[in-house]
């Protein structure tokens, strides 16, 4: 049991990393990784939403979508769940950390449209995970997202001081960095 959970967790964080393997959630990946602080905060906010989404999607899918045989409602219910949870965390961050709220700016409500979360919600029923499995999977996917955002923002902070050829400054060198990171993550493929 524990071994299986660790495998799911590691698989979501490293091997099947949402950003660098499936290329999901690229918008915040490039948008808020200017500073480590905001990158990590965005990562944790997304992790929170992902974990709770996994915890809510599983029973909804099990008892409403499959239980009542309403497969066409899957997308609608997923979007409802994600949008509500993002609202919740937005209120929470606005209350607890106004500075962070301002630095995340538009990317915070945009978690709603972050494709990695919808992907997670659609992925869980496909994999036939149990309740605990899906929570661990959601948490792992979020931690993987945070991990990549941390790496990317730390690299980008250093890049600000690096001598980059003039034609590559800004977006091009960021995209090259993202590509190299994705290449490096391919090395985890044989891990499990």
């Amino acid at each position: 049991m524990a071994g299986r959970l660790i495998l799911i967790f590691l698989g979501a964080v490293l091997v099947n990393n949402f950003v660098l393997r499936y290329f999901l959630g690229i918008c915040p990946f490039l948008g808020v990784t200017g500073k480590v602080e905001s990158g990590v905060a965005m990562g944790f906010a997304t992790t929170f939403v992902m974990t709770i989404t996994a915890a809510v999607v599983w029973p909804v899918n099990m008892y409403i979508i499959q239980g009542l045989n309403l497969p066409f409602l899957e997308y609608v219910s997923d979007i409802l769940i994600i949008a509500s949870l993002v609202q919740l965390i937005e209120m929470f961050i606005k209350k607890t950390n106004p500075a962070l709220y301002r630095s995340l700016g538009i990317y915070l409500p945009l978690i709603t449209t972050n494709c990695s979360i919808l992907f997670l919600a659609l992925f869980i029923p496909l994999r036939e995970y149990t309740f605990i499995d899906s929570i661990i999977f959601g948490f792992g996917a979020g931690m993987g997202f945070t991990f990549v955002l941390l790496l990317m923002s730390a690299i980008r902070e250093e890049l600000d001081f690096a001598e980059v050829p003039r034609s590559l400054r800004g977006a091009p060198v960021t995209l090259i960095t993202a590509g190299l990171l994705a290449l490096a993550f391919m090395g985890f493929t044989g891990l499990i």
Partner: protein, 269 residues
């Protein structure tokens, strides 16, 4: 039929659950806001034109409550708004100098020469990138109306391919100044001067004359005839100094191309 009821019912139940959860969270996590922010927002124009340097009227209101900005920061609102803000904040308002946008080009489509046929994207910005599109003058209005689209107050009309500003609607927010790729729109004080040089060409007389019938050709007649030393030449372009100008109108009379104009109803502003 039964399926529809089940589907609707289950989604409604789910939605109701989240609605209740969010409303509880909302009351628990409510952020205390300075009540003056709301009152300031009512006093501000609310067009989010960003002329003050903040992204929105709300951002300005929040900064004003903290005392980070002066009460007259809203250039669009002018004295009225500054007064309201000062009443809410309990400080004395400074008099805001009213500025209005002025187009430094007087040539309509029929008066400016063409040098090419332009079939590209119909914005001034795009035309300016390809050597100014079809307009031969390298300083004048391109006539695609970027300023008209940028104006939040509908104060700019394009007449015969030239931007015209309705001074009764203009608030001096400066959006048009920012978007004009040729920098021919300027913000100027309008209380003390009725005569303006409606041209921004820095070309020498012959060249300026070749490309446009209404350009300043730097002949210097206005400089010689002005009794108050208010006109002077700068880089082949006549300028009028508002400190010396006594609004006699001689410069406009002697200008051979009509580049100096008297502005309608500018004195009332």
């Amino acid at each position: 039929m039964g399926l529809i009821i089940i589907a609707t019912g289950s989604i409604a139940a789910l939605a109701a659950f989240f609605a209740i959860m969010l409303s509880i969270a909302h009351s628990k996590l409510k952020v205390e806001e300075d009540p003056r922010v709301e009152r300031l927002l009512e006093a501000l124009p609310g067009v989010n034109c960003a002329a003050c340097g903040f992204a929105s009227c709300r951002a300005l209101a929040e900064a004003a409550v903290k005392g980070e900005v002066e009460v007259g920061s809203c250039v669009v609102g002018g004295n009225d708004v500054a007064e309201k803000i000062s009443r809410i904040m309990g400080v004395k308002a400074k008099v805001v100098e009213k500025k209005l946008a002025f187009v430094r080009c007087g040539a309509g489509k029929s008066e400016r020469e063409k040098k090419a046929i332009y079939q590209g994207v119909e914005t001034c910005r795009a035309a300016n990138l390809v050597m100014g599109g079809e307009v031969a003058c390298s300083h004048g209005c391109l006539g695609f109306g970027d300023c008209q689209r940028a104006c939040p107050f509908n104060a700019i009309k394009m007449l015969d391919g030239l931007a015209h500003i309705d001074f009764s609607l203009c608030t001096g927010c400066g959006r048009c100044v920012q978007v004009c790729p040729r920098n021919i729109i300027v913000l100027e004080k309008f209380n003390d001067l009725n005569y303006r040089v409606k041209c921004s060409s820095l070309d020498k007389g012959k060249k300026a004359r070749e490309v446009c019938k209404k350009s300043c050709i730097a002949c210097g007649r206005c400089v010689k005839s002005c009794p108050y030393d208010a006109c002077w030449m700068d880089n082949n372009l006549a300028r009028i100094d508002s400190r010396n100008c006594q609004v006699c109108g001689i410069c406009a009379l002697v200008c051979p191309t009509g580049a100096i104009v008297e502005l309608e109803n500018s004195g009332k502003k």
